[in-house]
């Protein structure tokens, strides 16, 4: 029985002693740290991809807690869902952002872009880009060695062996910006995912004049401005013989798509009928406009004639 007593006394004694000391010590040596940092970190995806512009998820957590505002800070991987949770933790208003996705702004596949030399350096777009402007005529196009694919942490990209161009897998891309930063030719761009994931963009960056550009790549944008004319919303601009669509202004009317004679306006998640429909619509509109113009012309002529007649009469 003494053993039992000893056991109980000693262990309980040790327990009480330990608790007392821990209490005293922690009182004396208290260090306060914002608990919300940990809480925020917990809801973040913790992939540490750096897509938010911070060096890692922990840094992001610290930054939001310090900033007490979500205006500047957004986690592209977690998206609005995560940012809502973060906002809850901090007790501030959530800021919604349109989801983005990476798009490939080059369509110069092997068949369209002939090789002009054989690159034989290290397998890396960045290295090739420091050496010369590329192994095809086009100095703006994709170099095709997949640096972008290598940096994607989300397995959202692969190189298409037939075209030699990278492909973004829509469901995996988190718009983390890694590939955009990596590409030495700035082929990749973050683009609003669009309503119901529909979007259109010009897949070319060639700034050469039309004839030169087409010599370099059969599907290059020649800056012909047909799309520019087709757009009723001023969403298309032409600079340096290159068309560009402003996603903010674009209403996805799709009327420009078929005006491009090399079909370099790329659509995503848009059924062909819709494009056809839009094209028909555009043609009808154009027809109508033409007719209207003609009528106006006729009317004007008629008016003139009338006027003439009138003056004659007068």
């Amino acid at each position: 029985m003494t053993v039992l007593l000893n056991t109980v006394l000693i262990l309980t004694g040790l327990g009480i002693f330990a608790a007392a000391i821990i209490y005293l010590v922690s009182q004396k040596f208290q260090v306060v740290e914002d608990e919300r940092i940990g809480a925020v970190e917990n809801v973040l995806p913790n992939t540490n991809c750096g897509g938010c512009g911070q060096p890692g998820c922990k840094a992001f957590a610290k930054a939001v807690v310090d900033a007490e505002s979500l205006k500047e800070l957004h986690c592209p991987v977690g998206g609005n869902a995560v940012m809502k949770q973060v906002a809850e933790i901090l007790g501030i208003a959530a800021v919604e952002r349109d989801p983005y996705i990476a798009v490939v702004r080059c369509s110069g596949s092997f068949e369209h872009r002939k090789k002009t030399s054989i690159y034989d350096g290290a397998e890396s777009c960045k290295i090739a880009a420091t050496l010369y402007s590329g192994d095809t005529g086009c100095a703006y196009g994709c170099l095709g060695m997949g640096d972008c694919v290598d940096v994607c942490d989300f397995e959202a990209m692969y190189m298409d062996e037939k075209t030699g161009l990278p492909v973004v897998i829509e469901d995996n891309c988190t718009a983390c910006n890694a590939c955009v930063k990596e590409c030495p030719k700035n082929i990749l761009e973050l683009w609003p995912k669009g309503k119901k994931n529909k979007r259109i963009f010009v897949a070319c960056l060639n700034e050469e004049k039309g004839s030169t550009a087409r010599k370099e790549c059969a599907v290059a944008c020649s800056g012909c401005a047909k799309c520019f004319e087709a757009c009723r919303y001023d969403a298309i601009t032409i600079n340096n013989s290159l068309a560009a669509i402003d996603p903010e202004k674009c209403t996805l009317c799709l009327e420009c798509v078929e005006t491009c004679d090399v079909r370099n306006i790329i659509t995503a998640n848009v059924p062909d009928e819709k494009i056809k429909h839009a094209t028909d619509h555009r043609i009808r509109l154009e027809e109508r406009a033409r007719k209207k113009k003609e009528e106006e012309k006729l009317a004007a002529q008629a008016a003139q004639q009338q006027n003439g007649d009138a003056t004659k009469q007068a």
């Binding site: 000893n6 000693i10 040790l14 010590v25 208290q30």
Partner: protein, 192 residues
């Protein structure tokens, strides 16, 4: 006399290396050995805690457990004392020396659950060492741990630059490395 200490030291560091031969403290050995600087931090923390813990548990053993005939309470009292000790050290260090805390403190909680500490404390009793020998034994074992983890982390750093087979990346390759390391250390057999 000095021979005894030499034997203890050589044996603990090389022959019966706590990690490579006795399988204690494997979790931090694998977990905190991705680069040399953290390995160093862990090593230093282990040396520190192992020494203090051994002294304290030695006192507990000889002044509480033995006189009161409750040797069977060894495990529970030891671990309570160690957990308590680590926590107190951590709290104090955080406040008093944030630099040191940055360097060592982050490893301290890991150490509470490190078999090596408790293992050494129990081994000391099993081998019936006196206080000074216990301390030497503890330090030598901690040094053995540190040696192993530093060697190991430098090897892993090098492997980082290598293109390992996909499924060997990380822990499997580390374990194979550990196995070869432990084979190599078997060459010291019979040294003492």
């Amino acid at each position: 006399m000095t021979m005894d200490y030499l034997v203890i030291i050589v044996s603990a560091i090389f022959i019966n290396n706590i990690v490579l031969a006795k399988f204690l403290g494997i979790c931090p050995f694998l977990g905190v050995s991705k680069n040399t600087s953290t390995a160093l931090g862990m090593g230093a923390a282990v040396i520190f805690v192992m020494t203090i813990a051994t002294i304290i548990t030695y006192l507990v053993q000889h002044y509480l457990l033995v006189p009161f005939h409750i040797g069977y309470m060894q495990t529970i009292t030891y671990i309570l004392v160690i957990a308590f000790l680590v926590q107190v050290v951590e709290i104090i260090m955080k406040k008093v020396s944030p630099d040191l805390y940055q360097a060592l403190g982050v490893y301290l909680p890991l150490i509470t659950t490190n078999c090596a500490i408790l293992g050494v404390a129990i081994l000391v009793v099993q081998q019936d060492l006196n206080l000074i020998k216990s301390v030497v034994f503890a330090i030598a074992n901690a040094l053995g741990f540190t040696l192993a983890i530093i060697l190991f982390s430098s090897l892993r750093e090098q492997l980082d630059g290598a293109d390992l087979p996909e499924y060997m990346k990380g822990v499997p390759a580390a374990l194979i490395t550990a196995s070869i390391l432990s084979m190599a250390f078997m060459g010291f057999a019979g040294l003492v």
